[in-house]
Every structure is written in structure tokens, then in C-alpha cells.
Symmetry: D2
Subunit: 345 residues, 4 copies
């Protein structure tokens, strides 16, 4: 059995990693860390785990993590930036769910995250863990920068178009909507029940930190620099994410042309489902699963493509994708532990 | 006291008209109709009205409505199309909350509503009841076509830009999100609690019926034909609506330039609130009130304007705007009965 | 115009007092205090008030409050305990929404609130502000201890039975359910959106602080000491409260007997609505209003009465009742500013 | 592989049986029926199943079901009453999720369900499928009457006390709260989003159909007839159920006494988790899993026991328990396919 460590086990992505691990036949949980709850069993923090996983939480410490085969860093941004190099030195495979190693360009960190990266030399070593684009590199990687939830939804929606000459690459807009769990478990006024329920809140318009991550991958696919408008919105629901992506078409297509193109592009991708004509992606169909659904619709009156892309922000947008990356790195069947359909209703 | 009749009193816009009427000092409810519940007091249908409004519901009948000074038609689309002309003949003022008389062009009905209009001759007589644009005409109108909720949010967001040369009129996209009450009270699978809760659903992309209504008003303001992309989404909440509207800028502005322009444009409009720099419209600030909030933000990296426009779909998006129109038609202070701030949380 | 001060204006009961004041023709807001947001306009804290109430928040200070005719203390428990006596000395009428002056017995504070009361001599002066029971005393009171939300729902449900010999006074159980706004606006893990949504949580079973308040009033009505079981539950909704109250009957009744008894008991009470046969109280019918609805149903197989009592925890359970008390104290019509029906849906 | 048929696959319990089957290594879905959607793939009805289960739905027909080893009847009450005997004749094992065969006494059907049972002779053959009470009989049963969701939560909470002399058996009250999915997928006004959201609704007080089912099992355990008060409430959430159960104690206990008694009673039951001192059951800890959590708290001031019992109404309250029963009947490890912890948040 593969020994797994999770740093930051008492957050939501930590819990989701644990839940998925319980359903995974090839791994065993070995170390769980939490600063807030150290010394307590994880099942005190999350009573859903009672009798299933009762491991005691430890303080974060690279020494104890080094004994693991794989370590997931499910920490707030920057909290694991200096831990990661220590783990690499010991031969652990590391999957970092934060943004710390996602951007190739160290200069982007001061601009978008207001910080100086402490290990810029490792940025080129970290593989951006979107299996549908980078599977070959993931296979042999030692460190994975696990993608953000918004970027996963947007990049998968646009990838099949990026190296065609069918679209106006200056016209990309992603209007994205997310459930609240993406904000993590730390209490704040903005995510209090009463502040979210029955409300619709745009935030971070024209400046959200996930923008450079999307632009990095889209530019790489297109072979030239791409800038997009990205508008996140907070929605009164716990899980699920939907990106409605707009891009102008440069010639006439019918829906079926593009649907076939997408189906062909993703034909070997189990976790990406291209929907049929006049179907739109819906978060219900994916919440609780590792799927990303993509709907394709041309607004013919204005010759603009409207893509809908949905996923579970904690699974395909975080912990499920992390497990998928682990499966690839360790040579397991990629779907292992990830086959459950969405939980609905 | 002005005698008021409401046709379709047992729907949500009907109930909201009643609730607002209770708070209005100049009017009295005289006739309430409902086919489903005729013979019952309205307070049997909506126990919230117990002891406040217990009027018996009657079957819809133009004769009984004619005795009213003002009649609100809060009926499903087409149900009142032939009632309205009968009421006009008797001298009633009529405010129609349906789409039946909103479009000037009779030819648009077969295209967007799959029906032939039975009274095309009246379309020019009906005034589109958006007071911020058509107040003078509303004052003397006998029949008001009360705007749809989505159009109100989108038109108010864009109106100040339409006759400038600052924007690319071919680039307009409105990504709109609505609570469920906009779908009315008739049971359907799509609006069952379990089908909506914890879900995010786009619908009617590239073909929603509110599109021509928006285009009609925007084209009129711009003085030339305008086509937009309109993408509605169903959100798990009961009330409230947000439109995030995108339009490309043709020259460089800073946020404050446009904010000042909007504030000047709406300086005499009590119910339109232009937000300050880096503030985005949020449905919480308007739900339960007749306000429309508009936020202004330039995405400078791509020189695109991102507008946020929020309102309560049942108030400024329906019944509150109808009362506002009535106030104007009858010479009351426009705010009468509409001054309550939003209910939060 | 009566000058009103609100200490603690940036909390939810503070906001609700402001909203209700806007709709009240006889009062004007004069002083609003907030420690967290002092120096900012209240509309920065609650954008719903933009353009309606933009008063600047001040630090809490008894001197500035003394210039008001009426002061509402909408503070956390104990925060106003020592302010209140200072205000009384200046002749202000004070309505305290906290529990600080609700219990007649100073000894109950160490037991239930883990504190020693600093002004036990004032407890007998403070009138428990439940108008349906204590209207005469409220008229001439200078200080009102405004009831808790749970106690209001439970006491009103049971009051008509307390001095009959129809019921077993040892059998009272209130299983109560509340929306989240009752917990206030201070961020905490337990009231984060993701921790509440899609969840049902009992809390404080067999020990909640509202118990002695209910027992005090019920005992007073019965003329002997009464103990009850009180079980609060947190429900995923923002507003509204329902208490399902159980009490064993000592003889046979039919539903109509008791309904008539209740209707007679509350015949002069506008804000208490006794429902008809086979109707149960529902939070929807009262949320957004100052009503308390009471449903009456006998479980004949076991001869137990099941009462349902619903109210809006922020209105009849807090700020609305406070305004009702103010109206009585100042000789206004009791319903002034409180006539709006519930907001539904 | 065991061939499984599901009659009524397009309802919520049908979908949940499919979802759980996907995670079960020993069975294969063979026949799915639906009258509403016959001829369509199940993944058209539930897009969450796209690419995972695309079986075509057939009209309900006992002939095609007979080829299955196990048939789940996930039909509305009475719809399968006459199908079941036909399947038994062919040797199928049948697990009926409806109430049709739950009551031993045929006379109870006219009283509680307003119908005459068409096969009273089979009532004694059907085993009430609560494994914690009837595992031995389930092992050899051919037909299982799968318990209702409310009864499962209440019976498991009370079972350890029924044959003690510690409690007053005339004092039992269950105040139960349920998410909306328990009402099924058929559209109705009462379960529309806007009618449920932000609302708390008692229903069926003193007369709900699940009462005789609870009384049957509790009486059997106690060895004498027991009557209870049962009060269901509809809560604005999709999944989850909580019963707060009250029973008077006849002698003094401390919490730990009863907790130990419960832990001993359920020591071999994986799916029943007895919580520790001062912990209350919460729907979050069980939703998405097959667990039932039970919290134990004595209200010492009145010597009354307050039990909290939570489960997922669609899993331990329906489809999960049905799979658990199937596992027992077929000799599989009882937990097979049911080991996933709750999905939270």
C-alpha cells in the first residue's frame, strides 16, 4: 500500500482528499496535519469520519511527511512554499493544491499574489497537473502544481479551440460562478451563511488571481500571448462551479461541427464529457464526481460561441484532480477511486 | 381612494402587487382574480395576508375589472392579450406585466413567442414602462407594457452608453443570473426544490425571449440596430437578479470617468443607484426593494467594461416597477409605497 | 419627530431597526453606533441603505445617546449592561434587545449566563416587553427588556393555557427551529455558509440560555414554578423561526374547542394570528412581518396538544417587537410602521 | 455477477440505487423501468450518469424483471403491490422500497393509507428490512419491505430502551425534520423551490402515515402496544433527516450510563454510530453515507431523555438500506458498496 500524507487535513480540500482516499484501494492514509486541531483525531473535526478515519492530527513538520510516498499539500497559499523543497529532497512525490508552484514565471507572483517567490528555481520542475493536457509530463513528475478550480473549468472549455484559426483570441470572456466551499473553511464575514444565502455576488472582477494561470495555459496552447476577461461570482450553494465562456467565431459553424470537434479532442478523456446539441453544462450533473461537463452552443445571430463548463470545485477542481494526478504518477488506472457519479439531488 | 384590480392575484407578481398595495396610502384593492382559486379568500392562498387582505378571489372577467381605476394584468403570457382591449374601451388604465404588448413590432411575436398577435394595432399605443427612459410618455399613457426583469437590469446598465461613441456596440454580452421566483408559481419539474437547490443551470442560451425586448430599447437609444448575446442562468435563491454586462471600450477611460458619467445620467433617478469605484452590484442590497444598483469596472488589461446590475426580479423587475408606473400615471409622488430598503439578511 | 438612537447599528437587529424606522412616520434616526465601523456611513456597512440612510457611525458613548428620546440597545449580551443605567438617569426611554435585564432574579445570571449582574437593583424596574402580556406596564415603563426570539414564540403559544387546569404543566416540550440570523453577524465557524447549508443541527439541548426566560413568564402566568424542555435547532435559512410545542391534555377536547379559546384570548391582538383547524404555523407566512402565527392540533390518539408557533426572529422576535414596544411607550398607534405583510417568496 | 432490476429508476430512490450499484463490485444493472421516460437512456433523465450508465428505460413489466436475480421496487406506494407477487413466483428476490408490505396488519392499510390491501396473505412473508433488528430473518427472506426514512431514524433511536423498564413508554414524541428529496420527484406546488426555500413547514402532525410503522416495531420490541406522537417538518435542504426524540425517564441516570448502554447495544453495527457525551446528531455527518448517528442527552432538570438521530433519507433511509439488505440476502459482506463517508460540505 502506498503511504499518503495530507498537510492541511482539516480544511475542505483536505477532507475531500481523505474521503476519496477511503474509496481508493491502493493507498493508506499515514499522516494528517493540522495546526488548529493538532492532537485531536480528524473525526473530532469532521464527525462524518467517525469510525472510518480516526487518525490523530499532527503539527505540520517535514520530517514526519518524508516517510510518506506521496504528500498532498492542501494548505493556504504560501504556507507550503518552503515545505515543498524539503520533501522533494527526500524523494517524496508531492502534489501541491495551492497556487504556489502553478505559474512558470516567477515575476507573476509579485504582480498577482503580492509576494516574492522563495524558490523560483523549482517553478520549471513543477508540472501543471491538468491530465488532459499534460499527462505525459505528469507520469514522470516528482512535483505537481494542482490546478485551480476556475482555471480547470475554463481551460478545458477552451483547449480544443486554441490552436485553430476559427476564433478571435482577443474576445475571450469567462463569466464564472462558484459555490462557497471554494473559499475554504476559515471563518470570514463574507462567507457567513447570512451574507451568502439568497444573494448573488460578483467579486474580484478584472483582477482575480486565477487569471494568469488561465492565460499561461491558454497562451501555451495557442502559441501566442492571450489575455482574457475573467469574472468570478459567489453563488449560494456549497459545491459546484460553472463557467460560461464567450468567444467570437471567425467563420460560420453549426453546433454539430464544433460538438464533433470537441468530442474528437476529448475522445480518450474519461473525465471530460462533451454534451450533445442544445445541452448546457449544469453543476448538478458533476457535483460529487470528478467529471467536467462541457456544453457547446453558437449564438448564430452574433456568431459568438457560448461554452458552458461545469465541475465540482472540490473534486475535479481540487482533490479529485489531485488523486487523478497521483494515479498517473504511480501507474494506477487513472480512474481508480474516482468512479462515483455525481450525488443528486 | 383609487380602486385597483389585479388579474392573476394568486401568482407571485400578483402577491407582490398586493403586498406593495398594503403599504400604499392612496389606493385600495378592489378586485382580485384567480382561476385556480376563485371563490376563496386570497389569504387562503397566501396565509401571509391573513387578517390584512382577505378579499375573495373571482374568476377573470373584464366586466368586474372595468369598475377599477387601474388594472394590473399579472397573467401568464397571452392570457390577457384579449382582455386588455376591453378594459381600454372602458377607460381603465391598464398596466400589463406580461410580454404581450412590450414589442413594437408585431412580426417579432411569431419569431420569439411562436404566436400571432391578436391586436397588433395596439402595440404602438402601449408605452414601455421603464420610467427612467420613458417617464413623459408614461404620464399620459393609458396602457403600460411593464418591462421584463432581465431587460430592466440590462437596459438600465447600458442606457448611459448607447448614444456615445465610446463603445463597440457589436460586443455586448449580458450574462444574467436569476432567482427562481421569476419562473412563476406553476409547478414544474425544473423548478422543484431538489432540481434547483445546490445547482447552477444555464438555460435558453442564444434564444431567450427577453432578447428582442432588450434589443428594441437599446437600438432605440443608439439610433441603430443592436444585437446582443444574452445568457440567463437559474440560481438557487428565491429572489434577486444580477446581470453582468460586457462591452468593449473604443478608447481609454478610468473607472471614475465612467462612474461620473453614469451618476450624471441617473442623477434624478431615485431608484437607480450608481455605485462607487470598485463596488459591484449585489442582489442582497436590492432584494425586497424597488432599487436597481449598477456597478462599473473597467478591465484595463483588455479595455473592456464590466457592468454589474442588480434588482429584485419581483419588484423593480415586475410589481414594484408597475406601482412606480401607476404613481406616474396618476400623478402621485413616484416613490409612494416603494420606499422600503432591501430586506437583509 | 422623536429622536432615536441605536447602539449596535451594524448588527442584524440594528439594521432591522433602521429598516423599520425608515417606514415609521413619527421617528427620525439621530445616533447610530458601531465600534467596528465607527467613522463610516452605515450605508458602507449595509449598501442596501445607500441613499436612504447614510448617517455616520459613532463609537458607543452614553453622552451622545442621552440626546435621544428613545435608545435601542442592539448590543451583544453584557455590552450594554452598564450603559443602560446612565441613559435612564438622563430620562431617555431605553429598549434593550439583549438578555441583560430580562430575568427578574439576579441569581439566574450566574447560573445561566455565567456572570454576576452589575445592576441587580434595576431588574425589577425593567418591564419584560411582550406587549400581549404586559401592555399596561409597558405604557409607563422607562426601560424595556425586549424578549428573546425563542421565548416570544414559545410564551405566546402557551400563554392561553397556563392558568387553566386543562394541561399537565410538567409535560411541556418546545422543539424549536431557527434560521441563522439569530446568531448575529460576528463571523464564526459554526455559522459559515458551508457549515450550515444542507445541514440540520440541534444545539444547546437541555441547557440553552433562553430556558429561564420562558420559565419565568410561564410560571408567572401559571402561578407556580414550571420547568420545560427546550431544544433549539439551527436550520439552513436566514430568517424565520418555528416552535413546535408539546403539552399533555388532562381532559378530552376537540381542535375547535381550543382554537376558539385561543381566538378569544388573542382577539384584541393584531400581531398574533390564531390559525384555523388543521392549519399549522409556517415561517413563510410571517418572515418579513411582525406577526406571530399559532396553529393548534390535538394528537387525539395520545391526547397531546401540538402547537406550532412561527415568527420572524429579527422582527417579532427582536426589532419589530422593540418598535411595537416603543409605539406603546410613546402613545403611537401600536401598529405604526409594522403593517407590512410577510415577504414571500 | 448478480443481475439487478430497478422498477421506478427515474425517481430519486431509483437514481440512488443506480449510483450505489455503480460503486458495488458484485452486481450489474440489468433492467431499469420508467413509465414517464421509457425508450430513453437513463442518462437522458439524469445527465450525471452520462457515460457511466446509459441503459435504456423500459416500461414496467413483470416478465422482463423476472430475469433478474434481485429486483428493487422503487415505485410510488401501491404501484408495485400487484407486481411483487408475480416476481416472487419466479424466484426473484424482491426489495420493495414502498410502504406496501411494511405493516403486518392488513387492517392498518385502510386506516392509514385509505386502501384495501390486495395481497394480505403476503404481509407475513415480507421481512421488515431493518438489519439492526431483523438480520437473521433478512438472510433467508425472499421479500423485504424496506423501512421508511422517518421510521428508520426513530426506531434505531429508541430500540435500545424498549425492553428496559427505565422509560415511560407513554411519553414518546418524535419531532422529525426532513430534506425535500423524501417527497419524491413528481412536481407539486408544495415542493416548488420558492415554496420551500427560506421556510419551515410542519405537515401531517398527528396523522402521518409513518406512525403505524414505527409503532409496530417499537411495540414488538417492548412486548406491548405503544403509541407515539410523530411530527414531521419540511426543511429547506435536499438531503438529510433528523429526528429529535423525547422520552421521560423513570429513574435517574447520567449521560454516560445511557451512552454505554447504547454503545453496547450497537457494538456490532457498523452503520449505527453512538455519539459521545454532549454530542448531538447532525445531518451533515451522514448525508451521502449509509450511517445513522445517534446522540444521547438527558435533560436533568426534568428527567427527560432527548435523543437525536440523523441519517440520509435517500441512503440509510431508502436505497442504501436496500443495498444493505441485498448484501445480507446474497451473503455479501454487509458493507459492500456502502463504505463512503458523508459528502461534506
Amino acid at each position: 500500500m502506498i503511504k499518503v500524507g495530507i498537510a492541511g487535513a482539516s480544511g475542505y480540500t483536505g477532507l475531500e482528499l481523505i474521503r476519496l482516499s477511503v474509496n481508493h484501494p491502493e493507498i493508506e492514509l499515514s499522516v494528517l496535519t493540522s495546526e488548529t486541531y493538532k492532537g485531536k483525531p480528524i473525526s473530532d473535526v469532521f464527525p462524518s469520519l467517525n469510525g472510518i478515519v480516526d487518525i490523530e492530527l499532527q503539527s505540520l513538520n517535514s520530517e514526519i511527511l518524508k516517510a510518506c510516498d506521496v504528500v498532498f499539500l492542501a494548505l493556504p497559499h504560501t504556507a507550503g512554499m518552503d515545505i515543498l523543497p524539503q520533501l522533494l529532497g527526500s524523494g517524496c512525490k508531492v502534489i501541491d493544491l495551492s497556487a504556489d508552484y502553478r505559474l512558470n514565471d516567477a515575476e507573476a507572483y509579485p504582480e498577482w499574489y503580492s509576494l516574492t517567490h522563495t524558490h523560483p528555481e523549482l517553478l520549471s520542475q513543477a508540472v501543471y497537473g491538468l491530465p488532459e493536457l499534460h499527462r505525459q509530463k505528469i507520469k514522470t513528475a516528482q512535483v505537481i502544481a494542482n490546478p485551480g478550480c476556475y482555471p480547470t473549468s475554463v481551460i478545458l472549455a477552451l483547449a480544443p479551440l486554441m490552436n485553430t484559426d476559427w476564433v478571435d483570441l482577443n474576445s475571450i470572456i469567462s463569466d464564472s460562478k462558484s459555490g462557497v466551499s471554494g473559499a475554504g473553511r476559515k471563518p470570514s464575514l463574507a462567507t457567513q451563511y447570512t451574507e451568502v444565502n439568497e444573494g448573488l455576488s460578483p467579486y474580484g472582477l478584472a483582477g482575480h488571481r486565477h487569471t494568469p494561470e488561465m492565460e499561461q495555459e491558454l497562451s501555451s496552447l495557442a502559441g501566442k500571448p492571450i489575455k482574457i476577461s475573467f469574472s468570478p461570482h459567489l453563488i449560494p450553494m456549497s459545491r459546484g462551479m460553472l463557467s460560461t465562456v464567450y468567444i467570437n467565431l471567425k467563420k460560420k459553424f453549426c453546433d454539430d461541427d464544433l460538438i464533433q470537434h470537441y468530442q474528437k479532442f476529448y475522445r480518450d478523456e474519461y473525465f471530460v464529457r462533451v454534451l450533445g446539441k442544445d445541452k448546457f453544462a449544469n453543476s448538478h450533473s458533476v457535483a460529487g464526481s470528478n467529471f467536467c461537463d462541457i456544453g457547446i452552443k453558437i449564438d448564430e445571430r452574433v456568431n459568438r460561441l457560448v461554452l458552458t463548463s461545469s465541475l465540482d470545485n472540490l473534486i475535479k477542481g481540487a482533490s479529485g484532480q489531485a488523486i487523478q494526478n497521483m494515479n498517473i504518477m504511480l501507474g494506477f488506472e487513472e480512474k481508480t477511486g474516482l468512479q462515483s457519479p455525481a450525488l443528486f439531488p
